[in-house]
C-alpha cells in the first residue's frame, strides 16, 4: 500500500501487527510504545521526522482506548495527569524544535538514532537493577509476614529512600495527591513532566518509557497508578505533539490510522493483564522493551535504514 504523504510503500498487515504488539505493551506498561513503533517505521524506510510525528498521532488513538480501560480499573490519578500534561507540552515543544533544527542541519536521522540507543540502554539497565533488587528484598520481607503481590496497588522499590528524600523537598506549592497517596512539590512534578515531554518531542511517542519509570522512582507513584495516569497524560500531550508535528509536516495520518486498527485490540488485552501482576514484576518485564527498540535502531543504522 502506497502512503503518499510520507512517500513510502508499506504492507498494511505489517502496520496492523506492529500496532497490535504496541497496543498490548501500551495497555500493560502504560507506555506509548514509541521505542518499538519509531524503529519499526524506520525499518520500512519512513524518515525519522515522519516516524516521530506519525507515531505520536497513532499514540493518541491507542492511549484513548487504554486510558479508558485503566480508568474503569481505578488506575488513573486525574489531578496528577492534568498537572503533568502542562510540563509535558512545554517539553514536547522544546523537543520538536530540536528536531526542526536537526532537519535544517540535515543530520536528523543519525543524531536521533544515537540518542535513542543511549536512552533506551540506560532505562533498561536502571530498571533491571532496581526491579531485581526490589524482588530480592520482597522475598526476604515476605518471610516476616509483609503482604505482597498484585492485590495491593501500593508497591515497594529499591529506589524508595531516594524517592522519599525527593518527596521531602519542600518548594512551595506542595501538592497533595490522595489517589496516589503522596504529597510533593508542584515543581518536581512539572520537571519530571518537562523532561518526559522533551524526549517525547525529540524521540517520538508519549515518552512513557521515561515518564512511567520517573513517576515510580522520582515521584513515588505506585506502579499500577503510574501506568494508568501516564496513559491519561499521554492522550493530552500526544494530541498537542500531533498538532505541532503535523503543522511542521511530520505526520502521515494514513499510516497512523492503519496502525491504530491493530492497537485497539492489543490495548484492551494489555490493560486487563496488569491486574494479574505485582508492581516490581511489571517493571522487570519492562526491561527488554527499550532494548528491542535499541536493537532495531542499531540494525537500521548498520543496514542503511531499509529492511
Amino acid at each position: 500500500m502506497f502512503f503518499p504523504i510520507s512517500n513510502t510503500d508499506i504492507n498494511p498487515i505489517y502496520l496492523v501487527v506492529v500496532g497490535f504488539i504496541i497496543g498490548i505493551l501500551g495497555g500493560f506498561f502504560g507506555v506509548g510504545g514509541s521505542f518499538i513503533a519509531g524503529p519499526a517505521l524506520r525499518l520500512m524506510g519512513v524518515d525519522w521526522n515522519y516516524a516521530v510525528g506519525t507515531d505520536l498521532a497513532h499514540i493518541v488513538g491507542k492511549s484513548i482506548v487504554a486510558a479508558r480501560q485503566h480508568r474503569t480499573l481505578g488506575n488513573v490519578d486525574l489531578k496528577l495527569g492534568l498537572i503533568m500534561a502542562l510540563g509535558t507540552i512545554a517539553g514536547a515543544e522544546g523537543g520538536a524544535q530540536l528536531i526542526q533544527a536537526l532537519k535544517r542541519a540535515g543530520n536528523v536521522n543519525t543524531v536521533v538514532s544515537f540518542v535513542a540507543i543511549v536512552v533506551y540502554f540506560s532505562i533498561s539497565a536502571f530498571m533491571l537493577w532496581e526491579s531485581r533488587k526490589t524482588l530480592q528484598s520482597d522475598k526476604r520481607t515476605s518471610q516476616s509476614g509483609v503482604v505482597k503481590g498484585a492485590a495491593s496497588k501500593k508497591d515497594r522499590s529499591a529506589f524508595g529512600p531516594v524517592t522519599r528524600r525527593i518527596q521531602r523537598i519542600e518548594i512551595w506549592p506542595m501538592i497533595s495527591l490522595p489517589t496516589s497517596g503522596i504529597k510533593i512539590s508542584l515543581w518536581i512534578i512539572l520537571l519530571v513532566a518537562f523532561v518526559g515531554g522533551l524526549f517525547s518531542g525529540f524521540l517520538g511517542g508519549g515518552a512513557g518509557y521515561i515518564r512511567m519509570p520517573s513517576m515510580v522512582y522520582v515521584l513515588g507513584v505506585p506502579t499500577h497508578l503510574a501506568v494508568g495516569t501516564d496513559l491519561f497524560e499521554i492522550v493530552i500531550s500526544a494530541s498537542y505533539g500531533t498538532i505541532t508535528h503535523a503543522i511542521k509536516g511530520n505526520v502521515d495520518i494514513l499510516i497512523a490510522l492503519v496502525m491504530h486498527t491493530g492497537a485497539v485490540v492489543g490495548a484492551q488485552i494489555g490493560a486487563v493483564a496488569t491486574q494479574y501482576f505485582a508492581g516490581p514484576k511489571i517493571r522487570l518485564a519492562f526491561v527488554p522493551l527499550p532494548l528491542i527498540g535499541a536493537a532495531i535502531v542499531i540494525y537500521t543504522l548498520i543496514t542503511g535504514h531499509k529492511f
Binding site: P4, V60, G61, I243, A246, I247, I253, L257, V264
Partner: protein, 80 residues
C-alpha cells in the same frame, strides 16, 4: 477450568476474525477514499490538516473501541 479457557480462546479467535473483516472493509472504503484528499490537505493546508488528523485518530479510537467492546459482549454472550 480447561473448558472455560478453551471457550474464551474460541470467542477471542472469532472476535479477531470478525474484527479483521471489518478492518479490511475499512481500509478499502475509508482510507482509499480519504487518501488523496488528505494528501492534498497536507500539501496545501497544513493547519487544517493538523486538526483533521487529530479528529480522525481520536474519532477512530472511540468508534473502534466501541466496536470491539460490542463484539466482545455479543460474542462472549453467545459462547457462554
Amino acid at each position: 477450568m480447561k473448558k472455560q479457557a478453551a471457550k474464551s480462546l474460541r470467542a477471542f479467535a472469532i472476535e479477531l476474525a470478525v474484527y479483521s473483516v471489518l478492518v479490511v472493509i475499512y481500509f478499502f472504503l475509508v482510507l482509499h477514499l480519504l487518501g488523496h484528499w488528505l494528501y492534498r490537505l497536507e500539501t496545501h493546508h497544513r493547519y487544517i490538516y493538523a486538526g483533521v488528523a487529530l479528529l480522525l485518530i481520536a474519532g477512530q479510537a472511540v468508534v473502534l473501541d466501541s466496536v470491539t467492546t460490542l463484539l466482545f459482549r455479543v460474542l462472549r454472550g453467545r459462547w457462554k
